[in-house]
Each structure stands twice: as C-alpha cells, then as structure tokens.
Symmetry: C2
C-alpha cells in the first residue's frame, strides 16, 4: 500500500494550502495505529481501506509490524517527509509532543481525537496550554482536540470510522461526532442526497468554523454547507466567511447552547462560550446563513438547498394537493411562515378547470378533488400549467403523491414512474423548483426515489416541506439583493475616542456628532449664567439636564427639568443643583446640558454593544419607559446597509408606530434606516466603544433626535478590541 | 354471511344509543353496493370482509344478485328491521330519500359519502336543505356528507375502505379522509401504537365533534382521542365535551384553517366557518385539549399520550444522553418549550458519578460521555438512579440508544434487547414515564420495537421527543388541578339587560355594577348644577365625561375633562357642551358622568365578546393608547375560574408590569383574577351581550377601576344566543 513517492512529497504539495491538504489528503499517517480491533487506531485504518481511499496510508506505532496488511512505521520521525494529514489517536498527554514531531516531519495538518483538554475545565488547563504552545510554535494546523475527525467522502479519506456515509453534495461542519451520526441517519431516513465532506471541530484549538466554511464552500463537490455549532471562537470571521460564501453556496446552521441550560451543557462539552442568543440569531441571518431552529430540520433543509433552485425573487408558492385537509394545513403552515400563495392568473385557472373538472379548486391552494385518482399523469399536466404562470416560483405537491398505486390500484405504479420523469423535465425546463410532500414518503417507492435522484425532495412532513419552501424563498431574495448587503468586514479603526469607562454626556455628544450623526441642538452650560443665556438663545422652552460624573440616573435625583423658559431658567438650574446636592452630597456638578424641547414623536431605542463573539452590533427597538416590559429590540452586526437597517426596523413592535399611529407623526423609515447605518459605521470604526445608548430617540417626520447620549468605553483603550 | 338473527333486531339494540350503534355496529347495510371493483360500494364490502367484521353485512342494490358471496337486497325497505348502520354510497341527489328509507327501516345511523352539498356553495344549497330536512324529520343520525367514513378497528367495522389499519389505542376524529391516511402513515413511520376507531365528519350535517368525542372517550379501547378539525359547528358543546373527557382520556387536536388562506381553503373543502384563531387556541387549551401546531406532531403526540404516564405535577425532566451535542440541543429545545430540567439530588449525582466515571456530566442534562459504549446496560442502571430522584418526573434518553450494536459492535445486540426489558420494568415500577430519542429510530430494531410495545415511544426527532414531554407535563398539571378548572358549561341566563346595540354609559355601568363588579365611584349628572354638586361632594379633583348617544369617541370631540375641581366644574361642563355642539351639531347631550380622579396604576384592557363558535369569551391585556400597537391580549371562555384567570394574566406582556414596574404600583394578581372571574360570570349569564369593553382599567395596589364601560347588546334581545 506504500507508493513510489513514499519518501518524497507529492508533486502538487507546494501548490496546496494546509487546509486544502487537510480536506483532500493525498497521504495519511495514523499516529497511534493499533492491531486491536476495539481501538480507534484500528478502526481508522479499516475504514480508510473500506472507503476505497486510494492514496498512501502510514500506520505509526512503536511496535511496528503490520496492521491490515500495511507496514507500520515505528515513529513519526521515520515517516516519509510531507505527508498531508496525521490522525492523532494517542492519549491526551502525548498529543503536544506528537504534534511537534508531525510538524518536523512536514505534515500539514493533524486531527486530534483525544479529549481531556479545555473542555474539562481546571483539570485540563495545563494540557490545553501545552497544546496551544505546540500549535503556535510549529504552525501545524490542528483539527480538534475532542473531535470525531474528518471525512472526504468523495476520495474515501474517512478519518471518523463511520462506515457507509452516502456520497452526495452536503458538506458538514459539526462540533460533535454524534451530530454527524444524526445528520447521516436523518439524511438516510428522508432518502436525502448524501455527503461530500465532514469535519468535527471539537474544542477548536486551532482550525475554526470560518476557515472550514471557506475551504469547503470552494470545493466543487460541495452543494451546501451544513453546520452544527455550540459556539464560534471568532464570530466576526465566521460572519465574514459566511457573507462571502453564501452567494455561491448555501449555508445552513443549527446552533446548540442557545438556552441557559444548553449553554451550561455546551460548556462542559466543548468548552464553548456563548454570547446573546438574540444577537447571534440576528447577525448569522444577516450574513445569509439559513438558521434552523429544530434539530430535525438540519438534514432536510441542507438536502433541499443542495439540489433545488431558489424561488425567484417576488414569486410565490403554488400548492397542488389531492385532499382539502392537506391543502388547508399546508396553506396554514405557509402563512405562519410568512410565505404567500400565488394569485393564479385567469389563464392558469381556466386551464386547471379544464384539466381537473368542476369539483376542483383552481385558486391556490389548488385541490384536484379526485381528478388524479385514476391518472396521476394529470398531476404532471397541472404542474406544467402552474409553472407557466409568471406568479409561481415554486410548486408544492401535498398529499398522497406517488402512492396512488398503493392506495387505489397497483396498475398505477408504471404511470407514477412515468410521471416522475415528466416532473423532472418540467422543473428543469421551467427553472421552477418542485417540492413534494407525500404521506407515503417514508416507504421505499421507486417513483419517489427517481424524483429524489433528480433533485426533487420528497418528504413525509408538511412542516418540513414548508420549512424548505421558506429556505428557498429566502435564498432567492438573498441572491437578488446581495449587492445591497454588508460584507460585515470591519473598517480600519478610526482614531480612538480618548478615555475609559462611561463618558460624560457632552463628550459623548461631541464624539457622536463628530461622526456626522445628528444629535439635535444642544449647549453645555457650566454656569447658571450660561444656562440662562442658552435658553434665551433658543427662544423656545428647553430641557435642562445635569452633567455630573457621579449621577447616572439623572431624573431619579431631580437632575432634569422640562419646558424651561428664559425667565425661570436660573431658578430651575438652582433647583436642580439643590436637588442633586441633597440626594448625592458628594456629587460634582460640571454644568447643564440645555436642549430645546422636541416635538412629540415615536420614542425609540438606538444602541450598540461590542458582542464578545461577533464584535460591534447595533440595536434598535421601542424606547422610553416601556423598554424593559416590551423587550422589543432587533440587532444587526455593524457595519450594516440601509436595506439591512430597514429589515431590522420591520422586525420590531416599534415599526407598527412609525406610520402615524394614533396622534403620533409618521416617521420616514429610510431616514431612520440611514441614521442606524451611520450608528453602525461609527461603532464599527470605534472598537473601543463597549456600549452606546441613545434612549429615547424621538423620531418624527422632521427626523431623529436622541434625547440622551451615553457611551461607555472599554477599560482597555488600545486598538486591541477585535 | 347472513346470520340467524337476520330479520330480528339484535337483542341488545334497545339498550344502545344511536351513537353507540354507529361506533360499534352489530349489523351493517351497504346502500349502493356494487359488483364493480372500482366502486366504493364494492371496496366497502371487500374491506369489511378482509377486516374480519364478524356481524351481518347487507349489500343493497336494485339489481340484487350476489357481491363477494353476499346476497344483495334489492331495496332498503326489504332489509331486516333495525340494522345498526347504513353506509350510503349513492349519488348526492339520492341521499335524502335513502335516509328516509333507512329511518323507516329502523336503521340507527347512516354514513353519507357523497359530496356536492353545502361545501360547494350556492350549487349545493338546495340539496343541503333537503338533506337537513330528511335528518330533522326522521331523527336518523348522519355522519357526513362528504366524508370518508367510519372504522371500528377492534371489531373490523371498517367503512372507509382503507386496509391494514393497525390496531391500538388511538381514536381519531377528522374532517377529511386523507388526514386519516396521514395519521395512519405517520403512526406507521414512527412504529406507533395503532388505532381503535376512526370517524371522518365531513360537512357535519348532523353528528358533530362533541358527540363523537364523548362517545369515543367512553370506549374502553380508546387510550387517546386525536382530532383534526377545520371548524366546530357548536364550539361550546365541544369545549364542554372536552373538559369532561380530558380527566379520563387525553385529547389531542390539530386545527386546519387557522390562517386567512387556510380558512378560504377549508370553506371550499368542508364549508366550515372559522372564528378567531387566537380565541380558538385559548379556549381549546382551557378545555384541556392538547393542541399541536404542526401536522407532523399529531400522530407522535397522540401515540405517546395513549401509552405514557403523565409527568407528576411539579416534577422535572432528566435528560440522559450519550453525546454532548445531543444533550445540549435537547436542553435547548426543552427550555424553549418552557420545561425545566431536574435539579438532581446529591445522592443521585454521587451514584451517577460512581456508575459513569469522571468524564461524565452528572448534572442534568446528564452526559454518559462514553461510559455506555461497551455496555448499554449502564443506561438502564442510570435510568433507575434518575427515576429514584424525587425531582425527576420523566427520563428522556437522547442520542444513539438502541443502535450500539450497529455503531460499535454487533455483539451488543443481545445486551440492548435485555436492556429494553429492564427499562420497561423500571418505568412501570417507578411510575415515571420514559421517552427515547435515537438517531437509529427510523430503522427496524428489535429492542426499539420491544420498548414501543411496552408503551415507551422511541422517536427519531429530538423536537418530537421534546414535544411529547411538553404534552406529558401539561397533562400532569391538568390532572392535578382539574377541580380548579371550569366545566365551561354556561349557567342559566340571567334576566336579560334591556335594549339592543350600544348602551349609554350610565346604563352599562349600572348593569356591570348590578352584577357585583366594582366600577369605582361615579355619578350621572344630567344638569350643570348636578355636575357641580357631584364634584363638590367628592372633595377631590374629578373627571367629567359627556354622555350622548351620538358620541362614541368622547375625547375626539372634546367630551372629556380631567382634574376638574368644584370651583371650575360649571365652566368645564359648559366647555364640553360647547365643544360637542361644535363638533357634532345634532348630538343630544344626556348629561355628564362624574368620577373622582384615579391614582396612577397599570393601564389594562378587560373585555368580552360573544364568539360565533365558542360563545362568551373574556379578553385581558395591555390597555390604553398602546392597545393596537402591542396586540397584547389573552382569551378565556367564560365562565372561568381564578386559576384560569391567573394563567390568562401570565400570558400577557401586561403581566410584566404588575409587580411594581418602574414607578407603577404593584397589583394584587389574585384580586385582578377575581375581577376577571366576575366579568366571566357576568357575560356567561348574559348571552345578549355581544361586546363588553372596559378600557382602560386602572389597576393598582388598591384594586381595579374601569375608566370606561362600554356594552353592546346583540340586535336580537331574546335568550336565543347560544
């Protein structure tokens, strides 16, 4: 099994990156190879041989000899130089040394199976540090530790020991090996399209999600990247990688550790840290990742995205059903998911009526009402009619499709087989995707399998079929407006704002205003005389607000006065000073912020935080006193685009109050969106900002005015925030 | 096949009701029997014979002769008297006459297959009326029309023509025949527990959901009633039937026609009328019905409720997993469903640690971390430890369970088979339910099937397993507090409030107050002098509100003044009069309502409507100006109990403001709940009230005061509202 190039690097090695070599190895070493059939070091070799891996395999074990007919090399340093990948199947304590030896032998990447590192907490900390040192010193690329391994199904490079992984277009990145087993078994249960590659990342001591995503998305064999993750080490890099990959290849993700108990479990499992679930959900969607909420959707959605065309933007779903009960449930499920049914054209309806007869329903959802019972080809004709309607972007067949030979007459089997071929031609010719839900889908039925082989999902569950339709619709929309979406790449940092911790409000206002963000008219008046002059200058009632480093909640200590006019400005100023002195004897009063009273408007919250995983994130929602009760807030990673800001606004309850709600003025959404874009640009360029809080912002037809401007800088003020 | 009692009624006939005879017929006539193998009148006979139906079958067809070895009777009037059920397989137009003949022949019930009645609209209206007349005149009980039929799987009385329906504890009521096919196939796909009986109700021209539910729940063979419905004809009767059945038998329901498009589809399908989805969801849950939102959950939840013990009230879920990734996802899904994980006791944790070793996680979710790989019996020991913990109400095994012989070593097969037996003993002995999710569940595996046969669900989907846990937890809670829940039976009507349409506010206030519901201090003052006297009498600032039959939105026409004191009361009254006269020249002003100003509190909405399907329903939520933006409203059918009112309050955003939110006073929830109970009693006793609206109600530590009381009576004022 050793080849003639045993002691020389493969000729294409110099041209390939370490990750390319990891994911498509032309030679593999098994460090910790074993002749014991119960050991992973034996399984790995057996699986490689069974999977038909056609390149050299080098077992390494001090006892040498032979395993499964392969010569065993007694140590890593005796291996031929420049092997692509080493599977490290030795105990945890031996891993750092093994890695150093591998690096010295010119091995590009290592897959480390052992657990007992960072994920077990204190007890593993020392070993974790030794591992990190070995990686840093040698530059060897490491997958794991605490991983199940890596598979390239196409080449047979199967380092997981899981046999019979079906070949197909799905590339999988998970954190946990059992999740691979789930995805493979779920794919098998739905008779889905199979797998191209798999990697389990375990503790992510070195190689991370973003790198794997970028690499696997480049493989021509990848039709979709399916991800299971309990946490991203560098979430921003993942966002950027996803935003870059998505226009070319769909990315589907299932996240673990979203709840508090789940997070605790994830920590003990892979040592992952999780930030806010709401932030992660928002920014991953923004990057174009199709997030599935349910574990049972991952294989289904990944399989469909790998083989189906998206729904062309603006087009709708046509349901074609052979039972009213099913049609109704499918229409409900689509509506609950926010998808619309097609308004079928007159010509479409006429042709359907002619085809299906008087009992049929020829508006969407279409119900054939028995017209197909004796001739399932009628289904194909109806699909053709529907796909010719310019309103229709996807046809969803619901009910018993493909099982008529079981339900009605076994003689229909050949007709159903023929119909499958016609349907495949139709979906290809019209470029309109086709989905089939059949209550017979769990059985092994030839016409279903023929459809699946042609890329048409045939599913048991109405819910899963609708979930797929949602993913195809969203993908169509994303592809159409890619140019209007953020790359999510952070800009070069601007000169940092000086200071640390909370800024006083005048400084915060100046910083925001310097970035070109309007904060309305305001004057900082350090003396009573200047307060009076400022109010007089505005020639309208004003608000006074105390500025004091000790006072955080100004109104709680009587630090705010509204509707102040010039004649009583001195008196109000003194009253504020007296109140604050009474409530907070030690407080130093810097002065007052004077602002003209703002016309009534919608009270909004605009803010930003530096998320520990994803970096700068903008928040938007309902502001004012209801903030804590409503919990109405949407997030986007900064920098964001106007389109993304508009979508963000639409997600909130606050958006229901923007179009002239009750006595409130109507708000220009585009103007508001551009305000959010500027906030995003500001915080993206200022990594030293750990929190920005404008609450409330008063929005009206004349614009947006923040009444309160708070900035908290991180304690470190170096540029080291990302 | 004809028996000796052919021409005499069965001796037990007199003791059985028509519905008992329908659902367990001791003799069946097939009206419209056919020798043509493509016809339903042939299928029906063939299916009965194949299903082993052991009682007499009487084919009826004018051509007489024999069908499948049975003598055909030439007409209904020649049938032996008192047959239990007739399957009516004749064309729609012939149905009314056939029913009359059946009734004359002493047949208790008829199953009418034909469509073309009310569900096709105008075209079917005449025939629909003729059908209704035949039913009303004869009293024969009719299932359908537009139905798939009826099955008693236990006795082989299969009038649907669907073969191989597996026998088990699930009784199914659907509106549509294809839904039966779905449920049967879904049950087969999860290798679920099978069926006792089935009925398709189609247009519900006579027999309705409530009667079927009551009847099937009484059958000892029924372990659960699973319902699919597109609409209830008399929703209140269904609520009462459900509330009565649920303590004995669980009821699961999937509703079609919840969305606007779904409703349109349902109308053309079965002519169903639907009310508000939010109301239906709330009141069905109140009645104890386990509502499933997803079609793919119906068979899963029904199967589990039929065989599993509920989670004892107050106990929690213990997850036992063999993979961290799965454990995390299951914990997330439980948390998202509002279920809590168990806080395992010290002794439990110590014993688990001893059993599973140092790598395991012994807090919930428990992760065996490899400890079971070579000996799956360890799982059973862990389950025993967990079930002994008094905190644990359900054990949920997650991961690869039962597939170790496939994943690791085929020699484990016998050990896994043995473990199944132990698990069944454990769940029975401890009385703690066990659920298993395994990514091998879709395969045919002996140990899984053995567990299922013993009543332990083994499911593929983590989501489905969690959904089942939710249903078992809710059932445990319902069973524990049944006595504190409403029967939902409407009380005898009180003497009706006189009038029709909107009442003037003093009348409305008097009606509410007469029912013992506090509306705060108020005086109706028809003259300026009386207004002044009233304000003076209260000795505190008051609100004035115009009373005029023409003025609906009082504040829009200047009809409200706040903070009025005695000295300016006359002036304010005149101002109101002038404003109203200016805005609505024709308005007749009856006088003013004078109320003392109320202390600040939480602004709530309390209301009631007469739902077209379910009758009187109470509404509660956030009140005041945000009503339309927040859409924060919960519903309960009246009469409701204090417990139900407390649950209703908890569902709202408003509930977050009851415990002293910001500067608002804390509100006594029990007092508020009792207020809602009284409102429920009031509207339940007054079917003439079509709408009651108290908005806002100001709630504070001192109680609840409605600021505005609106009542709209239905246009008919007779007692004919239910």
């Amino acid at each position: 099994m050793t080849s003639i190039d045993e002691h020389t690097p493969s000729i294409d090695t110099p041209a390939r990156t370490a990750l390319e070599r990891l994911f498509d190895p032309h030679s593999i070493a098994i460090v910790g190879a074993s002749a014991n059939a119960a050991k992973r070091g034996f399984h790995a070799i057996r699986t490689l041989l069974q999977a038909g891996y056609a390149h050299p395999i080098h077992p390494v074990n001090p006892t040498a000899g032979q395993i499964l007919g392969l010569d065993v090399c007694s140590s890593i340093d005796r291996l031929p130089y420049g092997i692509d990948v080493a599977l490290i199947a030795v105990p945890a304590a031996a891993v750092p040394d093994s890695l150093r030896q591998c690096a010295a032998a010119g091995i590009a990447g290592a897959v480390v199976l052992a657990n007992g590192f960072g994920e077990i907490g204190e007890a593993g900390a020392e070993l974790d540090a030794a591992l990190a040192a070995a990686i840093a010193e040698t530059g060897i690329r490491v997958i794991g530790p605490n991983t199940s391994g890596l598979i390239n199904v196409s080449s047979g490079a199967n380092l997981v020991g899981l046999q019979d992984v079906p070949h197909g277009p799905i590339s999988v990145i998970t954190q946990s090996g059992n999740m691979l087993l789930s995805v493979v078994n779920d794919n098998r249960a739905i008779r889905g399209p199979g797998f191209h590659a798999y990697v389990g990342l375990g503790n992510q001591a070195d190689v991370r999600y973003d790198e794997c995503l970028t690499e696997l998305a480049r493989h021509p064999g990848t039709g979709v990247v399916a991800i299971h993750s309990e946490g991203f080490v560098d979430g921003r890099s993942f966002l950027v990688a996803a935003a870059e990959a998505v226009p070319d290849k769909p990315v589907v993700a299932l996240r673990g550790g979203r709840s508090e108990v789940g997070r605790r479990a994830a920590r003990s499992h892979t040592g992952s840290i999780a930030g806010s679930d709401a932030v992660a959900t928002a920014v991953l969607r923004q990057a174009g990742v199709e997030l599935v909420d349910r574990p049972d959707e991952l294989a289904v959605v990944a399989g469909a995205l790998a083989t189906c065309n998206p729904i062309a933007q603006g087009r709708k779903v046509a349901i074609l059903s052979d039972g009213g009960g099913h049609a109704t449930l499918a229409a409900d499920a689509l509506a609950a998911s926010g998808l619309e049914l097609a308004e079928l054209g007159d010509r479409t309806q006429r042709r359907l009526r002619q085809l299906l007869g008087s009992a049929a329903t020829v508006v969407d959802p279409v119900d054939v009402a028995g017209a197909t019972d004796t001739d399932p080809i009628v289904f194909a004709v109806a699909v053709d009619i529907l796909m010719r309607d310019p309103e229709v972007g996807l046809v969803l067949i619901i009910g018993l499709y493909g099982g008529y030979h079981l339900r009605f007459d076994s003689g229909l089997r050949r007709i159903e087989d023929a119909a499958a071929g016609i349907l495949l031609t139709l979906t290809a010719e019209h470029g309109v995707p086709l989905l089939i839900q059949s209550c017979y889908a769990a059985l092994e039925i030839d016409n279903h399998d023929r459809l699946r082989a042609g890329g048409v999902p045939v599913l048991s569950s109405i819910d899963h079929a609708v979930r797929v339709a949602v993913a195809l619709e969203r993908r169509g929309r994303k592809l159409a407006d890619t140019a209007q979406r953020s790359s999510l790449v952070l800009p070069p940092p601007a000169p940092p704002i000086q200071g640390s911790g909370p800024l006083d409000e005048p400084t915060a206002r100046r910083a925001v205003a310097a970035a070109g963000i309007g904060v309305g008219a305001w004057i900082f008046a350090p003396t009573v005389e200047e307060v009076v002059a400022a109010v007089a200058g505005y020639r309208q009632p004003c608000a006074l607000k105390v500025v004091s480093p000790q006072v955080i909640h100004k109104s709680d200590v009587g630090g705010v006065r509204l509707g102040v006019v010039a004649s009583d400005a001195a008196e109000h100023t003194q009253a504020i000073i007296d109140f604050v002195r009474a409530h907070m004897p030690g407080a130093h009063i810097d002065g007052m912020i004077v602002t003209p009273m703002v016309d009534p408007g919608v009270e909004l919250l605009v803010g930003a935080t530096h998320d520990p995983i994803f970096g700068p994130v903008v928040a938007f929602g309902s502001g004012g006193v209801m903030v804590e009760a409503l919990r109405d807030v949407a997030f986007r990673a900064a920098p964001l685009t106007e389109l993304e800001a508009l979508e963000m606004i639409d997600e909130t309850i606050a958006s229901r109050m923007l179009d002239g709600y009750r006595h409130l003025p109507a708000v220009n959404r585009h103007q508001l969106a551009r305000f959010l874009v500027r906030i995003g640009d500001f915080v993206a360029a200022h990594p030293e900002i750990s929190e920005l809080d404008l609450n409330p912002v008063i929005a009206s037809s004349s614009g947006t005015v923040p009444l309160d401007v708070r900035i908290i800088l991180s304690e470190k003020t170096t540029g080291d925030h990302r």
